[in-house]
Amino acid sequence: MSVQAWSTLLIFLSFALYIGVAVMSRASSTKEFYVAGGGVHPIVNGMATAADWMSAASFISMAGAISFLGYDGSVYLMGWTGGYVLLALLLAPYLRKFGKFTIPDFVGDRYESKIARVAAVICAIFISFTYVSGQMQGVGIVLSRFLEIDTTTGVLIGMAIVFFYAVLGGMKGITYTQVAQYCVLIFAYLVPAFFLSFQMVDNPIPMFGFGGELADGTPLLEKLNNLHGELGFASYTDGTRAHVDVLFITAALMLGTAGLPHVIVRFYTVPKVRDARKSVGWALLFIAILYTTAPAIAAFARANLIQTVSNQPYEDVPEWFSKWETTGLMSFEDHNNDGLIQYVGPDSGLKNELTVHKDIMVLANPEIAGLPNWVIGLVAAGGLAAALSTAAGLLLVVSTAVSHDLLKRSFKPDISERGELRAARISAGVAVCFAGWFGIHPPGFVAEVVAFAFGLAAASFFPVLIMGIFSKRMNGIAAVSGMMCGFAFTSAYILWFKFLFPESSTPENWWFGISPEGIGALGMLLNFGVAGAIYRLTPPPSLEVQQMVDDIRVPGSFRTEMNDE
């Protein structure tokens, strides 16, 4: 069977599975729509969170990015998993005890402020849309490449699927489809990695094989460093970024991860506080299965790529090379007209003739390694699972923000349960259409906007939530001013270097050597500083709020104090 036949079959089967699961788990109340009824088992929730979190970027782009960045790519690995430690220790159990439906719920109630609630809603919607446009684009790319249909049709198919289960099933439908999607995506990610690892270092476990020896006895990583040295690239295990920058980017990604609304809301769906604590652990474990494999794939793919193309005659390139050239993700320009491919780095003194897009490293990896056709089809289905599961989770945040936070809690409190559920479905539908539009007409700056989303979550959401839980005296005025300062500072810095004067974005011009990707961590410190100064000068919040803070700090209650049990 051909690659296309296998891809079509596997994609079709996976879609049928998702629809089947969705039909079996329809939501019939707002509680089921928003938090799946609040009765999801912690392991199931962990798996769903993993699928929710791992997007097209994690599945398709991350290993490729690490492959080209080497050590510098570690920021994604540490940053996107380290956030779960913050989530587990500082946020999830307390927010679960608080027990409403959304983050704006918590912000609004804790700070007794409609402005804070609406500001949180706007942040949540902005972050979610930023993300979702990348997912829909991912769906379009995978479908168009593997099924050879055009990208627009690809995005429309993706929209139809997400529409079906997000609008019908709400959180309940999404949770159980995400479990199915996790299984598909992790299987699709690991199978080619097992093959590769076995081929290259004779060890079927890629996580370990990565530190193993090639057939000629040299360790893989040493071989890579040698190849990089010969071709004028920076050493694979050292990277090029300054320590301070790596530190701040990692911190911003960690803080941003812990502040992302679609991840936090998943921990409202488990029955108890003790389940929320455990569930974060399961989520992290399921995520780490992919995240510890990614750097292995990165190293294998890097060595494979260099050995396959470097100094080879262009006429003899394998079939996959020309196939990916037609998609524009790979291009060759023979600067010195010798007919050979000079793939070299900045330190070689030669002109590089080959440009390779990072997404190729995962998508074309099975072909580069000559793996069977069904494995290639599997990768297509896995990439779709990753993109669809994240898109659905984000769309739900948008729809909840509109129907619950804006309508029910802010502007139309007398709306009926059925009306609210209908509003949730309509806004989910509208959000799907918006997302599809962004997927078909992607703004040219998706990567920049994603940096924006993380910086924003780190500098605004994260500190507000932390202060709300860990300081009883923190009041609305102080928290909102801190949030405004952190937000303004972070967005000004990113706008300046990413959009207004991108040519000036060099380490010499950055403040303290911190790149725009890492500035959210500094914005967070500013937020804490401003809020910490102002709350000393302003009156503490009402007694009810202080009582509420006491209450969320314990899973149950202290029975001795003014308790009528």
Binding site: I66, Y71, S74, L77, M78, T81, G82, Y84, V85, A88, L89, L90, P93, M207, F208, F210, G211, G212, E213, P219, L220, L221, E222, T237, D238, H243, V246, L247, T250, A251, M254, P271, K272, V273, R274, R277, K278, V280, G281, L284, L285, A288, Y291, T292, P295, D550, R553, V554, P555, G556, S557, F558, R559, T560, E561
Partner: protein, 87 residues
């Protein structure tokens, strides 16, 4: 100190201790000490140690931290008798 305050202080102490480890493996071993640790390899493999912490070791430690916290806190809840009632 009331029981409630004591419970909270013990929670905070645990959180700070674990966050220290969290920072030490990622920011410490994975980033600031990366070049120094790269002089050694992870026993039984060919990973330069600092590089390994950055790409795998810190993540594995994170998992242990989260499960340890869950286990310890669920025990603390029992000790202070503040578990959730059946709902």
């Amino acid at each position: 100190m009331s029981k409630q305050e004591e419970y909270w202080h013990r929670n905070l102490r645990l959180v700070f201790g674990l966050l220290f480890i969290w920072g030490a493996v990622s920011f410490g071993c994975g980033i600031l000490l990366h070049h120094y640790l790269d002089n050694y390899t992870l026993p039984g493999s060919h990973f330069p140690l600092g590089f390994w912490f950055a790409q795998q070791g810190s993540m594995l430690t994170f998992i242990v931290i989260v499960f340890f916290y869950a286990w310890r806190m669920n025990k603390l809840d029992h000790e202070f008798d503040v578990e959730e009632e059946q709902s």
